[in-house]
Amino acid sequence: MIPELGTFSLILALLCAIVQGTFPLLGAHRNHYHWMNLARSAAWSQLVFVGLAYACLTVSFLSHDFSVRYIALNSNTQLPVIYLISGVWAGHEGSLLLWALILAGWTGAVERCSSAIPQEMRARVIAVMGLVSTGFLLFIIMTSNPFARQFPIPLEGNDLNPLLQDPGLAIHPPILYLGYVGFSVPFAFGIAALLAGRLDGAWARWSRPWTLFAWSFLTIGIALGSWWAYNELGWGGWWFWDPVENASFMPWLVGTALVHSLAATEKRGVFKAWTVLLALVAFSLSLLGTFLVRSGILTSVHAFANDPARGVFILIFLSLVVGLSLGLYAWRAPSVRSTLVTSPISRESLILINNILLMVTTATILLGTLYPLVMDALGLGKISVGAPYFNSVFVPLTAPLVLLLGTASVIRWKQDKIKRLLWILTPALLISFVIGVLWPVFNMPHYSSVAIFGVTLGVWTFATAVVGVWSRTSGGNRWRRLRNTPSSFYGMTLAHIGVGVFAIGIALTSAFSVEKQVRMAPGDHQLIGGYDFRFDGVIDVRGANYVAQRGIITVLKDGLPISRLEPEKRTYQVQRNPMTEAGIEAGLMRDLYVSLGEPLDDGRSWGLRLYLKPFIRWIWLGALLIAIGGLIAGFDRRYRLPSGIRNRSPSTVTTPSVGI
């Protein structure tokens, strides 16, 4: 009964989405008030029905209704409750339902927060989101209904994939989707502005907070995925340049470019057409990401069970979205007049360079990700592109980005002077060099140019952030100036510091990590980077729905035990796959990491992976700071004021100021 109610609400939601996608659009075109007004009620009803369908699936999971095929495949009576709830999005059907729910949620949020936006614009935005939702709901109902029943009814479910039974991964998809789907908002604003033929600063101001929120969620989502892979895959790695990871990283890069160019469009009226294009591309890449992950055409660590037939639908949907939006862009964008960038030394030019670097990076990653697929499709042989490719193009493209980022805190709009910038920034540059050279030399085991380079860049972002806040608040009452500085400035500063923390993390981890794969019998010692790992043997333990062999490893420093690591090799009762659970002692300066390999012939020895990972936490800490910075900037009071109250007169825009 409940599953049928779920299917029924999905169909009702589809009908609402169709209404939401058509009438307001036509109404805006013909200036028909009541049709435009339909946007509100259609959006809310759609949210209610998708929410109801989602609730039905959750209830069916909690009540172990194995007559529903999706639940039988992804659940089990022994499964802990938290994984029954997260099991809803463990597979393809449920994660699409989550997609649809989040899309309906963003639509509701946009509807609720945009009373200051002219009705015609609002109707178009909601309608475009309705059209996207129509596509997704059609996809769910036609090819992947999570409520499909099966007969005979199995007595026990097939269990949740053991890899997904981890708190980090349980929250990874919703957060990632909040980001992916969130890019539908700037996309919808972009399409609406193109339809109306009005691409102005107001358009950029409306899109900015939404873009920042979506981008921040995507940042956290990607970081969570990386953190999970580190904990759960047992290889000690945090990023594999795996096609599925790239699929989430490309929209992030474009989103980063978008966040910056929106600022330039809002403040200075430059790059209008380019900014819209970025909004279209960011969302298209989010869809491409969904397509790549779900179509089964990729060889990847993430390649869970897939169905190529569904890929065809997503491909058609993707071509429609990309084709129509780019078509509209080609038709409307040429008439847009942007203000020209007046000087090469200005904040606008800096943002331009930032955008170029980010887009070239995206293009090279796209090339490496799609090249094997294209070769295969053309019958030119099966190939794979290795991680060294991505590393060798990524670093040279992003290092200049971090260098330029430092000047962002002080450079002015419109026109600035190199002399002034040098004068302000030279102390920061010197400090970064001194700390960058001294830190790795004094604290680390051996010389490494990578470490010096990374730490210099990292300290540079921090030093310039301090200089930025200092110079912004100098003159007059500093405390009052600090308080009056908009939160978007603080958000930017924090996010930029996050990039530095991230860079230091990558540099030190890749320069000084030590890895050993060894054979150890109980009582054996291994010395790694000054830490003595002693293997004390393996005991059997029992979890809620698994049995495990738990290795006991004592880590000694200078003869004294400092930590006890307990990596596990778990066997889940239903799926019988062995699963590695790493034993990690996390620290701000270093992680000690052990994972159990396999028992060896003599029955006493085990294969073990031992790692010392300096500063690896800084990678996720940096990502977290970036995301928090984005959220702080998105909550800037400026965006919440109704458009009429804060009228940006041209004079405030043309004064060379350090706004963002």
Partner: protein, 134 residues
């Protein structure tokens, strides 16, 4: 300004293509190794099914096993810990180099996290053998 951008992009594209060419790994099946299609002393990928009873542990973490596409067999040598889902009858992909005597030395062994999953490359190679056999 525009000129600088164009020059920069050209250099970036050139470097990217160069890096791409150096880091492409071709995929081969055991049949292609045996008939000599696969180059030796270059990093390539080799995929197939692990032959039952062929896994042999050696000194330390050394291990050898035999991969098959149901037509030909190739012995693979590897030093290190095998992935969780590595087992007999499982389809796997390895990355490494072929020496001149026809032994394959793997630097990486990849097995997927799903017991019913067969890597697409291995699947295709198996299907090709089946088609020839019919």
């Amino acid at each position: 300004m525009v000129g600088l951008i164009v020059v920069g992009c050209t250099i970036a594209t050139g470097l990217a293509l160069l890096a791409l060419r150096e880091n492409i790994n071709l995929f081969f099946s055991p049949s292609q190794i045996v008939d000599g299609t696969a180059p030796s002393n270059t990093t390539i990928r080799l995929g197939g099914m692990v032959v039952s009873g062929s896994i042999q542990r050696g000194e330390n973490l050394g291990v050898t096993f035999v991969l098959t596409d149901l037509a030909e067999q190739v012995t693979v040598a590897y030093e290190g810990i095998l992935p969780d889902l590595f087992r007999e009858g499982q389809g796997i992909v390895t990355q490494g180099k072929l020496d001149s005597s026809g032994r394959f030395f793997a630097e990486q062994v990849l097995a997927k996290h799903d017991e019913t999953y067969m890597p697409p490359e291995v699947n295709d190679a198996l299907r090709k053998v089946m088609e020839v056999g019919q």
